[in-house]
Amino acid sequence: MSQKILVWDAPTRVFHWVQALCFLGAYLTSDSEKTRDIHVALGYILFGLIVFRLLWGFIGTRYAKFSSFVYGPSKIISYLVALFKDKAEHYVGHNPVGSVAIWLLLSGGLTLGVTGVMLLQDDVADIVEDIHGYATNAMLAVIAVHLLGVFMSSFLHKENLVRAMITGFKPGEASLGIKCAYNWLAAVMLLIVVGFGVYYLK
């Protein structure tokens, strides 16, 4: 039978939760000029984390690698159909529909970061701020779908996907697990994030 195997490495997990918190915090501090410095600090961290994730997608562990969750349109559609028929195939890593959410969230986050940095410059066209806003709304929509998908898949496959993204472990065959969690790298990431926050908001 299957056992608990390591699927998500520590840097991926740290990335996931810290950028989610940064997005939430940045969103809550977006409407006031009084909290503009906090908003910018969180934005920088989010941007930095996404850049890291883009790199890690090429040099990271098996299920973090982009090559492991690139799916063609036919595969995505057939998975979606199967999901609603309660017959979705179980994926150890990101499933085809989940991976679409990730592509959209990474692109959205990148757009937010780039437009955000542009908005810090002295002479910016109004449209940059508009794009920053549109990207935010798009992210919110995708996040809603992402949360729905996580809960649907968890329910369907009877596994706690949220806990898996915290601990890294999921039920599976031993041969499918990753070998190294890279805990040291996750620790470095956290140090940089906290250090930057303290330095910037001093």
């Binding site: 000029e33 909290t35 503009r36 410095d37 910018v40 810090l120 002295d122």
Partner: protein, 174 residues
Amino acid sequence: MSRVLLSLGLVVTSIFVAPTAQAETPAEILAMIKAEASATAGFQGFSAARGETFFHAKHGGEWSCSSCHTDNPMNEGKHAKTEKLIKPLAPAANAERFTEVKKVEKWFKRNCNDVLDRECTAQEKGDVLSYLMAAGTKHVEAPSAAPVAAQAAVVAPAAAVVHKAATAKKKATS
């Protein structure tokens, strides 16, 4: 096929162009605010002097409008938190100011909340805009206590005299 694409292109373009085609002037925006303020009982018009006081005051909070926009709206300002440069607020120094209703609404909402922890009333917005429109010009304002009607009563006969003189002059020269 190409005709369909062209029409589609025109439609898409107009969706982007249409909003930007609606530029207002500061005077038009002031008139809109005035219409809103007139709905309040006891409204007696706007005052640039009152707007100036309002602009510099901290209203019991940490910031005034001046905190970012400086004491003189003709000057470039600086964000109190990020130090980002802010272009001058007075239309006389910056022709883009108060030319888009949506932008005016957005920034009044955000910045009034920053300074006063509430939205500004139409009276306050009108006073401030009057002050900003007067900044950098040679405009001399009538005493703020004078009701709008009294001012109009003074202006109308004077205008009639000017008009009469102009038409008389025209008749003489034609």
